[in-house]
Symmetry: C2
Subunit: 361 residues, 2 copies
Amino acid sequence: MTGTMKAMVTMGHGGMDQMVWHEAWPRPAPGPGEVLIRVGACGLNNTDVNTRAGWYAKEVRGPTTSDPAPELHGDGTWGASGLGFPRIQGADVCGVVEAVGEGADAALIGRRVITDNWVRDPAAPMDMDRARYFGSEMDGGFAEYTVIPARNVAAVDSALSDAELATFSCSYTTAEGMLTRAGVVAGDVVLVTGASGGVGSALVQLAKRRGAVVVGMASGDKHAALAPLGADALLPRAPGDLRAALQQAIGRDSVTVVADIVGGPGFPQVIEALARGGRYTCSGAIAGPIVELDLRTFYLNDLTFTGSTIVPPHVFGDVVGYIERGEIRPLLAATWPLRELHAAQTAFLEKHHVGKIAVLP
Amino acid sequence: MTGTMKAMVTMGHGGMDQMVWHEAWPRPAPGPGEVLIRVGACGLNNTDVNTRAGWYAKEVRGPTTSDPAPELHGDGTWGASGLGFPRIQGADVCGVVEAVGEGADAALIGRRVITDNWVRDPAAPMDMDRARYFGSEMDGGFAEYTVIPARNVAAVDSALSDAELATFSCSYTTAEGMLTRAGVVAGDVVLVTGASGGVGSALVQLAKRRGAVVVGMASGDKHAALAPLGADALLPRAPGDLRAALQQAIGRDSVTVVADIVGGPGFPQVIEALARGGRYTCSGAIAGPIVELDLRTFYLNDLTFTGSTIVPPHVFGDVVGYIERGEIRPLLAATWPLRELHAAQTAFLEKHHVGKIAVLP
């Protein structure tokens, strides 16, 4: 298993020019317990941009953008270990297992799989200090081939295309992790910020799947495209008076859960929309990480906030089941050739799309 | 049960001059299910000041001070119903039951009791929209006599003085509610802000009682007075580098729980001191309610924040048991005559004391 492959390789922290196209990058070989995947498609995620631009570094206080903040000095990783370069990014792989390393199940060869992107220490699966993220602290899927531990893939029995299957893993495990942390159940009323994005559209579908009433917030021009996801109501991204807008849309002026991946200037408004005893869960802050919190609102209403990054190990398998049973549907906005990743990521950041973007080698 | 009594009566929202001394205020009579208490002592709490000054109103953004913020327009209550005036404030009563209303247990007559200050709807004890706070949405203990539902008092078998027993209810149920919400257990490392105050000193004792390692933050000149509470380490109120100070004090640079009643500018520092998976619990913000939160710290570390105001009904009885078994000790800083409440509350706000201040009718 030698030779070369085409790959988009990130050479260091910085702007989009750090991502360099290579026609003959070394092809990886599967080590013990690993599988070699011929990549069919790889979905795009905010973490690709954040990790490259160093957004996770404390010096950065602005929203997710392509260019690194000028004040950046930290290494901007989100895992415990720093990023090494060159690095092949890309977390959401769908592809076919072409070979397995020593000790890995040979029955996987020829199967179409998707990837569970938290590569954990099997002895301590919830210990993030020992966990790596596929495409972040280890090479990922912006290439013709990639390797990952065999326990991090699942064969998927589905009529969906590779690109459609590459929309699920990162967003849906993130979203399901948030809903799990917040304990969302039937009877909850869930407000989803950024409902047109990958995690946002996943939150809408997964909260509906749990039987909750779901209100999505997104730009008005995206509401038509979001309608098939089944939200009970869609509100603008920044309603002038959120409580009044809720009252008009669903007949009550508060929600029991806010699932947020936006943060930024809209944070105080969504917190004020929580009913007494309400829960806020968060797994991103694309509009800016530094927010203003009124502790009175927080403690006088007995609110609970749960941050969610590492997800319970069962979540990935749960999501695979939802896909196979047709309980969630892909929301594929566009596909691009892998070599046009710059253009694809530019479109991703412009946020004119609804759902996910994938690249094809 | 008619006649008059001496009382400090709050006439409206505003500064300390709103609290007016009356030598012949109407003495209350116990209604059905209520008891009449001859007040022996009444402890002072931040909520007395906050409610009078209207600090709970959204327009206010500064710390707890005696004077109302000039921008105040709201009514500043923290319960569901607005405050009515004139109002007798004061939540932490210790006194002797002198009479009972229809249907209340006559065996309480002659017993020394303390008050459970959340006056709940028995049909919905966790529904704060139906709960009132003693001394806030109903008359309290800054008077010779007060009435309260019989289910809101507990006879206490203790050698402590009335003033000492009047230090417990508000602070210790608040603190125990916070530790319950945060699920503090043996093995936790708990950082307590404002450890010299009523709730802070309660948090130190109650977290130690649960077997946690406890680090208190307080002005250096109060450390000697705090030592008997048993904290494993005491740090300054605003250490330059909290993580380094923790490392030096307890051999690790993070904690598993922050129990905060201070908020304000120190908030980001205590959040950054939380270990992955750490918990923050809050029941006050005397240094200012508006704080800056970095959502990355929150979600990338899988933190959980719990606001705590209404406490489970069992907490008051639990605290009474801790008192009777000597598991917690009072920290009585000073007593003042009730008629000198202005001076007592001035001393309370100057924060030169350690523990609690009580007034005696």
